[in-house]
Amino acid sequence: MHTSYASLLSWAQVEYARKHRPGVTRILLGLGTCGLAAGAGEVLDTVRSELANEAAVEIVGVGCIGSCFREPLMDILKPGGPRISYSEVDREKAAQLVQDCVRADNLRPDLAMAVIGDHGVAGVPSWLELPFFKFQERRVLRRCGFIDPTAVEEYILQEGYAAAAKALTQMGPEDVIDMVKASGLRGRGGAGFPTGQKWLFARKSPGDIKYVVCNFDEGDPGAFMNRSTVEGDPHAVLEGMIIAAYAIGASKGYVYGRAEYPLALQRLRGAIRQAEELGLLGDNILGSGFGFTIEIKEGAGAFVCGEETALMASIEGQRGMPRPRPPFPAQSGLWGKPTNINNVGTLTNVPLIILEGPEWYAQVGSEKSKGTAIFCLTGKIKHGGLIEVPMGVRLRTVVEDIGGGIINDGRFKAAQTGGPSGGCLAEQHLDWPIDYESLVAAGSIMGSGGMVVMDQATCMVDFARFFLSFTQRESCGKCIPCRIGTKRMLEILERISGGQGELRDIDLLQELGDTVKLGSLCGLGQTAPNPVLATIRYFRQEYEVHIVDRRCPAGVCKALITYRVDPEKCTGCTVCARQCPVQAIHGEKTQIHVIDSAVCTRCDTCRQACRFDAIVVE
């Protein structure tokens, strides 16, 4: 229990020194969900068994540094030496690195991705020279991949809880709100409402009992920035919540977390326990007289629970269905008490503002969108991962410089932001700045941070159908425009991609889309038509080709395509025939193969298996 920040800081120093004996080599492994999926678990096993009896080596699991496309990552930090990051590490490479770099003194520049930190190593670029990192402005994510997320002392030694200490002991709640207002911080959950304003409403709302809720129900299928933040830097979320609670006068907080993120929830539980032991949660936090506790509530898989009122219904143990606003949660929220709900992304910005000041914070960004934006760059992009860029950055910088362009040197077609609630940006938007205003002007929204890049092999009709099938399935069914409107729109899209569309279907989709947007009760329905409307706006011709020519130019919609073997390229190697799950491919060895279209299920196995590019999709 620490009753002052000074005592907390000196504890952290002692604790760090106790754990980190001098002369010890540290091996840092990216053990976030994506690292593990790429095989970091095997790397960990290898390193552990290789170094089983070596006391002078310490293996640390860290969060994600963001360069997911080069996972698994293994960094080696020798005493007094540079931190060298090695990418795409497998068992063999790990064993090799232990042998050469840890035991001997060969840093293996040939295998290195980058040097992280101030040291220079001949033949290895600094990580800040790599295009993926060079164009980023890592503020909120600055600790992810750099600290051991399970070691609270490392967080504290990197300015952790300094902002909470400053707010609670040196500032009044109104000062905190003023500072957040002055910074221009807007909600990172998607809608972009000014955070300071939201806090002020909850502060002014009468009542003894108030709640702070952290929305960690990252439901956008294709976004994982909150997961990465929580996995890599869980205490930052708690610190943001403590400051928010102090500002509005809440004594109890909830994190509403996604059950599909077991590792993140485990990290968060551990962090809450540590914070309680250190006196950062509980009564009289750091001797300030202010008390606050946090409880985790696990979501159970409902996208609509990202909506404030539905989320609160779920915490109360009911079906997660939204209700009309007003009353707003700030007036009547959880159990009828004033409640303030912020996204993980919003809350993790707060400590920075308190510590560095609103002027510093607002130096980065565009006129009405301040600070940085965190995006999950995925899809048909070479360098996918988690990136943090200044608000107002051009889309081209993100796609071409940071993302390295399109896979297989293909051509950019579109980028979807805002997930199922957003729309797509087309080629003509590549030089637009990315911020709240310009994305709305383009027919999309900022959203929570998903950015899915598409190439010419992505069918926009199929893409719109994908999102609508998602929102239709996730519609809670309470209001009619959303429940029935999304269903009818989906049926029309299925008709079009099934080769049974009519030209008037496009107008009908637009008309229905406008109705659903206007008439729905909550954000889910009000934004559900966006992917459809935006794809019609920029790719109308593609819809028309599906309808008039009964053709899918991207080769995706199964009812409109056939697979055939290009006789010029087929070598008769039999690989496709052997892999075909339905025995639709015939042909003897060294003979040209033939696909029986009546049997073929268009599963794409043969095309992916063929080494000679001989499978043609038409």
């Binding site: 996972e71 599909e260 996918g384 794409d604």
Partner: protein
């Protein structure tokens, strides 16, 4: 009543309906699904009508009303996975397991195949999870061979 169910319910008292979802989550984790018996027992325990328990249960995608197979195969159908070929991964898992329509569990009770909204490992799309182990950068052929491996290990027993 099932002993495990009994033990779970013993941890919760009356009067706080907000424990409903956590109880159901525990039942699902420990027993694999929420049975009809469990629905009535939970309602009885925390004084919430069984109809309401059922309402909550069927609202959230996480809950199951039928038993799960011994092995769990989950295919991500998030956006990034979709554009990088999740439908063909799902298709190949369906074909390999001989599943289709409404059934998600094989008749021998060995496999349950589920579609998940998003695992959040989008950079490694398409993603498939077998028995808690995540596999990234899937192809239809790899999906089939991973399932076959589990099958072979089973028949070797």
């Amino acid at each position: 009543m099932d002993d495990k169910l009994h033990a779970i319910l013993a941890d919760y008292g009356r009067g706080d309906p907000s424990v409903l979802i956590p109880i159901l989550q525990r039942i699902q984790t420990e027993l694999g699904y929420v049975s009809q018996e469990a629905i009535f027992a939970v309602g009885d325990r925390i004084a919430v009508p069984p109809a309401e328990v059922f309402g909550v249960l069927t609202f959230y995608a996480q809950f199951r009303l039928t038993p799960v197979g011994k092995h769990n195969c989950r295919v991500c159908r998030g956006t990034a996975c979709h554009v990088r070929g999740a439908p063909s991964i799902l298709g190949s898992a369906h074909t390999e397991l001989g599943l289709g329509g409404e059934t998600d569990t094989t008749s021998d009770g060995l496999f349950t195949l589920e579609e998940i909204a998003c695992f959040g490992a989008c950079s490694l799309a398409p993603v498939m999870v077998i028995d808690g182990q995540t596999y990234g950068r899937m192809t239809p052929a790899r999906a089939r061979s991973l399932i076959r491996k589990v099958k072979e290990a089973e028949s070797a027993h």
